[in-house]
């Protein structure tokens, strides 16, 4: 069995001291789900070395990209849907206080209980208290980014409550004691034989002759989880959408574990970010078209469940909704950055990002990776550093992009991620201005600004550069340079400066014109 690199930042990997030949886990889970350790360039450097991850991820993202393009291409009014989706979310943010209160009223009117959580710790306490009140030492979970964000499973474990993940990929990640690497397919960094090994080692009731055929693996998971579903008393879920004017919640899924968790247990707790609202029930007609095609590249995902409070005799008879802030109000406060809250967690941006495709999710050091992660993570953690913290790894995230714009093109709600990235960079630069010490970037940028703000100064600089035209030998290509230029020359040649800049050539041309066409000048030839 070959050793497998998990793709986790160096700071999180520990040598396996269990002694057994297990190439996976246990690895410590980061204390902070939104800040795992290394800054992006350092983390990326490690993950880029993992050829298997790159191959898996490159293949996966290409497959999903192609599927998405095909089903989106079928929709004649796709752009109109995007326009509506974007505008509806803008309305939600603008009217959030009223909509949240309206949602609460409607959920309560239908027999639900609404809780509010300022931060992760508070949300975790609320969930733990409900589970304990029900006498549950185990809860079944539907995949929820919000619960990952708050580290719910770990918090419940501290209270002696086991949270059983029921999404296949989350189950794999949980059994392996790993961390997810993609929003939609969290175990994409694992291949089938690794998954088989994980099941054999950790599942307990996996058939001893389990093969690595994906269907068999899925059936083993089905049998294992079915026992849990049929006996669970408490379920925890997230929500894709909450309708303010009816109190309806929606969960969009593929495997059926959502339906199991949302229907069979007596008590359901749903943790949801305060931004996941839509104003009216009819607004679902927009998002239930945008989400499935953007995320899994299907016309519609296999199962979507909608429920409002409690329906006597059908499903959970006790329903709790936990409304989570945990930094969202900081995001909301920024005029440019607030549209990051429009995200419906489809992961289309991950699948088209040339950076994500190569470095993988773990390099972003957060449960939210990829383009959306690069704008959401720093903002969510603003109050503890985030955008403007010196030495905060999250401050490196807005730079983890070549600004190619592919994400903006596919975002179903038209979040202008490249513009927000640039804006976050500006916020970081401005926050850093007050720090002491010499910052080479700032120095260089100030100097460049001075030169580039004036045609004469720039012309002079250009002329000075041409003095280097002899560099680079016959090919006029410079292969070795001192830092910081060495960052360039490590992978590519630099052109030697030309003998003559463009404006020198132009001036010579103008000077050579017959007299009377241009005014004679006293300047020397270039």
């Amino acid at each position: 069995m070959s050793r497998t690199f998990l793709g986790l930042p160096r700071t999180l990997r520990r040598p396996d001291d269990a002694g057994a030949d297990q190439p996976f886990g246990p690895v410590p889970h980061p204390q902070e789900p939104l800040r795992w350790g290394d800054d992006f360039p350092a983390a990326a450097k490690q993950t880029l070395k993992n050829d298997q991850l790159r191959r898996n991820l490159g293949h996966a993202t290409q497959v999903i990209r192609t599927k998405r393009a095909a089903v989106v291409g079928e929709v004649p009014d796709w752009e109109a849907l995007r326009d509506a989706g974007s505008a509806v979310k803008q309305q939600v943010m603008a009217h959030l206080p009223d909509l949240l209160q309206q949602l609460e009223e409607n959920v309560v009117a239908r027999g639900g209980v609404v809780h509010w959580a300022r931060d992760a710790a508070e949300a975790n306490r609320i969930v733990a208290d409900i589970a304990k009140a029900k006498g549950a030492d185990e809860v079944v979970k539907v995949k929820s980014m919000a619960t990952q964000e708050i580290g719910l499973n770990e918090a419940l474990a501290d209270e002696g409550i086991a949270a059983i993940e029921t999404d296949l990929a989350e189950l794999i990640v949980q059994l392996a004691d790993d961390m997810p690497s993609h929003i939609l397919v969290p175990a994409i960094h694992r291949n089938r034989s690794e998954i088989r090994d994980i099941f054999l080692a950790r599942m307990g009731d996996a058939p001893p002759d389990l093969s690595d055929v994906p269907r068999e693996l899925a059936m083993a998971a089905r049998a294992h989880l079915r026992r849990k579903f049929l006996s669970a008393k408490v379920a925890v879920s997230g929500a894709n959408f909450a309708v303010a004017d009816t109190g309806t919640l929606a969960v969009v899924e593929s495997e059926g574990n959502g339906r199991m968790c949302l229907t069979l247990p007596e008590t359901l707790v749903t943790v949801m970010g305060i931004e996941k609202l839509v104003p009216t029930f009819d607004d679902l007609e927009v998002f239930l078209q945008l989400l499935p095609r953007s995320s899994t590249g299907e016309r519609m995902n296999p199962y979507t469940s909608l429920w409002t409070g409690v329906t006597p005799g059908d499903g959970p008879q006790e329903f709790h909704l936990v409304l989570l802030d945990n930094g969202r109000t900081d995001v909301l406060a920024d005029e440019v950055g607030r549209s990051a809250l429009h995200c419906i967690r489809c992961s289309a941006c991950l699948n088209v990002c040339p950076v994500y495709e190569r470095v993988g999710g773990h390099a972003y050091g957060s449960v939210y990776p990829g383009p959306i992660g690069a704008i959401l993570t720093p903002q969510l953690t603003a109050s503890t550093g985030g955008v403007s913290g010196h030495h905060d790894p999250n401050a490196s995230l807005p730079y983890a992009s070549s600004l190619c714009g592919a994400c903006y093109e596919v975002c179903p709600v038209k979040i202008d991620i490249p513009s927000i990235l640039v804006d976050l960079r500006a916020r970081e630069v401005d926050a850093d201005r007050s720090t002491r010490g010499v910052d080479p970037w700032r120095t260089a940028m100030k100097a460049a600004s001075w030169v580039m703000a004036d045609g004469d100064r720039f012309a002079l600089a250009g002329r000075a550069a041409t003095l280097g035209s002899g560099l680079g030998g016959r090919d006029h290509a410079i292969s070795v340079a001192p830092p910081p230029a060495s960052a360039w020359t490590k992978a590519r040649d630099l052109p030697a400066p030309p003998r003559q800049t463009f404006r020198e050539w132009w001036k010579t041309r103008e000077d050579d014109r017959p007299t009377g066409t241009t005014p004679a000048t006293a300047e020397e030839d270039a």
């Binding site: 898996n56 999903i64 109109a80 509506a84 505008a87 603008a94 959030l96 206080p97 509010w116 959580a117 300022r118 999404d167 296949l168 990929a169 397919v185 969290p186 994409i188 002759d209 994906p214 269907r215 068999e216 693996l217 059936m219 998971a221 989880l225 079915r226 579903f229 049929l230 309708v243 593929s254 495997e255 059926g256 339906r259 199991m260 229907t263 069979l264 029930f281 009819d282 679902l284 007609e285 927009v286 239930l288 016309r299 519609m300 199962y303 979507t304 469940s305 429920w307 409002t308 329906t311 005799g313 059908d314 499903g315 109000t329 900081d330 909301l332 406060a333 607030r338 603003a382 109050s383």
Partner: protein, 266 residues
Amino acid sequence: MTTARTEVLARVRAALGQTGSGTTPSGKVGTAPHPEPVPRAYRAAGEHAVGSPEVLEQLVDRLVDYKAHVHQVSADALPATIATLVAELSEPRRGIARPGSDNSPGPELSEPQGGIAPPGSDNSRGVRVVVPDGLDDAWLAALPEDVDVVRDSREHPLAATDLDAVAAVVTAARVAISETGTIVLDGEPDQGRRAVSLVPDVHLCVVRADQAVQTVPEAVRLLGEHPERPLTWISGPSATSDIELDRVEGVHGPRTLHVLLVAPRG
């Protein structure tokens, strides 16, 4: 003492630039947004009418694409079709056979499964089928005597473990969407509690032609008449692509879906 509710709402207001509301956790007061009005230029309805031949054809196409089994029947032939499908369930029960060690594929997922626990000791008799209490009895008229029909309702629900022991469930539907191949159940008496169409391994779902619309907005508007009902949107058997993006169908939920599309009368 400020409650979490008060504080969160105060933070939201502060973020939106309302003065006198304090600040956000990182000490900010935002600016008021000016959202544009929502443009609704997307299609409110398809070009084909409810229950039209084009809509039905598209629905069938999508259902087949999702590997659901589609039976187009007249209303008169419906009971017999149901009886035939139920009879298939009583064939020698197959469990989840293990593939041989040579990694040969397992049984076809579309084969009917008899449920995990045997309802009776004799394989060919005693098939148990659950139906919602409000299902049209006439649909079951052709079922043989030895089929055990159990009625489920909110007042008299089956336990989940009992549902696990039935071979199949028969329900009606509320609306179907042809563009996406979706069938929506709304928990009314002819469709039943959500658990009954979830736990059994085989789902026979009767959809009337006049319940088929072309687009999602048409369905949402219809369902919006009773948004408080527990809604389940089904678009084919469950699936996962979590293992190397290899799509596996039938993870949880019924692994076999039969859609009985009842033709319009006349």
